[in-house]
Symmetry: D2
Subunit: 138 residues, 4 copies
């Protein structure tokens, strides 16, 4: 692993001025990461459930964490494609978790998948795949 859990957690806090509104890092391995989002009013939508964008934001940042575990602290790695299927209605006020796993990390591109869960529920609420573009080293 190119970075430690503490290094990445600190990096994410510095880079994202929004603080914990995208979620916080919980676990980190070689090519995978887990993050958690404490759902509050700003994350809800009509129907009393978690808004899609809150799940997409959490999925996106969790994939970013999984990618950085492999390539180190590269701020300018950016998402180029994201696909997400919303599978089940999340529990309205329970935290949501995301677990991202890299499927490939190449020289210029990383692809991975993310499962999103409501805390305490076994079946996933969403599943996403993403491509990140990795900037060339100077």
């Amino acid at each position: 692993m190119k970075i430690t859990f503490e290094e990445l957690r600190h990096f994410l806090e510095v880079q994202f001025p929004q603080g914990a509104s995208y979620g916080t890092l919980q676990k980190l391995g070689d090519g995978w990461a887990e993050m958690k989002l404490n759902v509050d009013e700003e994350h809800l939508r009509p129907g009393g459930t978690v808004a899609g964008p809150a799940m997409m934001g959490l999925a996106d940042v969790t994939m970013y964490a999984a990618l950085l575990s492999r390539i180190g602290l590269v701020p300018l790695a950016v998402t180029t494609n994201l696909n997400i299927n919303f599978l089940r209605k999340p529990v309205a006020h329970a935290p949501i978790w995301a677990r991202a796993t890299m499927l490939k990390v190449g020289r210029t591109m990383g692809v991975g998948e993310v499962f999103v869960y409501s805390e305490g529920v076994e079946e996933p609420v969403a599943h996403s795949t993403m491509t990140y573009s990795i900037p060339p080293e100077k």
Copy 2:
């Protein structure tokens, strides 16, 4: 058109307790909608640019608006699939605009596409397609 601009703008304000953080409705037609997001600190990401989730949130709500122009004020229409390609780096502090157009509105499902722009720039910064599930009428 099943609803007026004013009805939808009011509906969105009531339904989304987050206020303007997903964007505000600018124009509405039969099967299409335009929304605008005033980008501030909460929407930025490393690299001094607009965060992907801010663009995804705007795209998602704009498609919701375009769909409701056809089916009326159905709060429980929900996104089931979203795919987005990020094409160019948005201007950091310029507002972003989204224009959504429905490709199909069936009885149980609506599919459409959204272009996202930085204000004042002709080339799109992102392009998204989405599927919404329409709940059965009672």
Copy 3:
């Protein structure tokens, strides 16, 4: 499981007049399926590798098989969305395998994911997610 391996293999042979050009069923479980495609000239593309459409066709039919394991022999279940990431160059003349797993099977819709492999190679060559629409029972 709603059907047996033999029933499904026979059903696929009857329904697809193209015979084995999409692949043949190898294994079937509750909510999953494996199929294999013997790659020949018609499946190749510039660069001496397996064409994307051959992998997409195999992935699509394998997901169909996985879905039918749950809902029975429903010919009119149709794909509504397919997303695929091509991860690595397949071996040109080796067979390709697909393994599909359902993530959700609802009343009107099934969502699943498929990994595609070159025979004998551990890392996947492609990963796909799909939504199938399930027609209402008469």
Copy 4:
């Protein structure tokens, strides 16, 4: 435009040993292309309609043509992501057409969208977006 219609039509015929089974080039412009597939038995599926993989194959090759109009005859440009929404049932024995338009052509990557139609029907039967990876020049 980097190539002529005749150059590309000849290139596609040489590169794809399958002949016209993916479709034939009809029109070519700067950043766009149109292709047509004469549907026969090999392209059908249960329900008496055009198989998804036939539409995906046509969409994929049409995007390849649109990309090559911008970058010239680069055989090793390959699809890295494809997303497709199937919107309506195609007419079973009518030809299908695809029109691809590039949304961005960068140095290493091209992104575009494709509409697929049944001949003589105005509403599209499918809509696809794709990313092509462009190999570095030697």
